[in-house]
Amino acid sequence: MYNSPCRKLTGLVGVSILQSLENAAQARLCSWDLVQLCRSSTSKWITFQHCNFLKRQYVTKTTEACQRAKPKQEALTTPLVKQHPHLQDETVIRQVQQISAIDQHPSSVQSSKETPTQDTERASSDEDPSTAQETRQWKEIKVMLGDLPGIYARLSKIRLTALVVMTASAGYAMAPVPFDPSCFLLASLGTGLASCAANSINQYFEVPFDSNMNRTKNRPLVRGQISPLHAVSFAAACAVPGITLLALTVNPLTGALGALNLFLYTCCYTPLKRLSITNTWVGAVVGAIPPVMGWTAATGSLDVGALLLGGILYSWQFPHFNALSWNLREDYSRGGYRMMSVTHPALCRRVALRHSLALIGLSVLAPALDVTSWTFPLISLPINLYISYLGYSFYRDADRSSARKLFFCSLWHLPMLLLLMLTCKNHGWTRKTDPWLTV
């Protein structure tokens, strides 16, 4: 639900999804942020900024993935300006950037290129500036009220939460019942609060690991902006109202699913990441539950349609995350994260391919279960075939570029698929079962 590199909506497709949903301004704001983000970023940064939406961010710049693992005497790693799929000149670029890095960070350790005599001279003359620089970097741990919204947004991974709420909304919209705006809003709010709580607890558990990975080192707990107690209190303050809201104002089933998902994410997935590769499967279930919650919020029961939607999200997680994790192997290895891409690379590629193909099967199943019309498997076939093709390339080639292509394809594939599904929603089913409706 919260952690996986899944649920990434590209700006443009996200906007179109929102237009098709009878949605509140909340989602529109989020889509506007997405569009702004894509427009304002340069091509170099789009990949990095884009991935900010995701818990598992895709580090396309090699040296960004290389969080400083070496003692300071060795080369500093700074983000590459340009990237190569097979980085042959890594060390040259690193050395070149050392010089610029030293200019940018005068307090950082002297480069290994300097001679010992220069070292002593620099040491004596640079001591005061470097100490002063270091002193400036120390911050008082005092929470200002004005900072809190920003801190809470980062703590709850607000963008990922928004994407989770969107998948839940899609689940609600796909349910074959009349649209109830109040129920929809309450379900979205409850899901959002539960997601905030889960993400906060996840960050609370992972402080030292996050410190050592480049993409997660600016989180509030890592930076010491708030205390662990504060983070836990925030999580409790989100979880209790969120689950209660779902259980009492929507229906108990949705509340139970929300609580289950919260538990799965915080107590199963998060610890499992460091113990066993089964964390990926647990994470896929976590990602599959929000649309099921949306459906049960609308209908009050766990129909086959809900399970189908959950199944589509579940299958989608694998090509998405396996492709992402392929290029983060160094970070995972150093940080002690047990991921398939590191320990069982062949399995990683096989599973990604298998589930890309499964998406075709599930799309065909949708009309068979009366969730959509038969147009859906036809119009979704091109994108499903494309992702399967990329899955096959990844399986065959197992290199950086095929992994990257598969990952980026998954980013737009899911919103597109959900959008097509919505357009092919089986309204006729509703009319058949409820003759009082004049749809």
Binding site: E90, E134, K139, E140, P208, S211, N212, V222, P228, R329
Partner: protein
């Protein structure tokens, strides 16, 4: 670590007193606080700490009543914290502060070791692979040779598997310490609130 071991260690952490903080040293396999730890030295308040390598000489201003957090450490990437020692520090607050300091040092040690051994073993692996191929470490232009992602993947897998047990032990210890610290922080927060409430009740003029 068995369940009983986990539970026993957790209860020991929660029940131990100020002077029993040294017991923590024996918990887990990686505890060895830095020698410059100042958690039990009230004289360190307001003084410049000795500048050992990796230790900051920063001292918070005397009028500050909050903790201070510093830049990420060069080796461990963890941010050090300078804890404020209040004038009337209760035993509970003292225990919390010491536990946090000790956990910080323990974490720093673990991740420093981890990062250093990773980079050393990586260099060693690259060197041995290149040697097998009959290549030198640096090519004709003096640039360091690197291996392809597939070749490095073998190293990453080996390193991760080799450190599995170490990480497993570390994780358990970390979760335990994290819970204990948060629990103590909760107790301290309640204590402070109670104190404030009690003080206000005693002095109605301040209401």
């Amino acid at each position: 670590m068995s369940r009983s071991g986990f539970g026993a260690t957790l209860s020991r952490l929660l029940l131990q007193n100020r002077h029993g903080s040294r017991v923590l040293n024996h918990v887990g396999s990686l505890t060895a606080p830095r020698p410059f730890c100042s958690e039990s030295d009230p004289r360190s308040r307001g003084r410049i700490k000795q500048a050992l390598p990796g230790v900051s000489s920063f001292t918070p201003p005397a009028n500050s009543s909050h903790d201070w957090v510093g830049p990420p450490d060069r080796m461990s990437n963890l941010r050090p914290i300078k804890y404020h020692i209040p004038e009337y520090e209760s035993p509970l607050e003292s225990r919390l502060r010491k536990l946090r300091q000790e956990t910080e040092d323990w974490n720093h040690q673990f991740w420093t070791n981890q990062n250093i051994s990773f980079s050393k073993e990586k260099e060693g692996f690259i060197y041995s692979c290149l040697k097998e191929k009959g290549l030198e470490l640096r090519d004709e232009d003096g640039r360091k040779r690197t291996l392809s992602a597939d070749e490095m993947a073998e190293f990453y897998k080996e390193f991760l598997n080799k450190n599995h047990q170490k990480h497993s032990v570390y994780n358990k210890e970390w979760y335990m310490r994290n819970f204990t610290i948060t629990f103590l922080m909760g107790r301290v927060a309640l204590l402070k609130a109670w104190r404030k409430l009690g003080w206000r009740q005693q002095d109605p003029k301040l209401k």
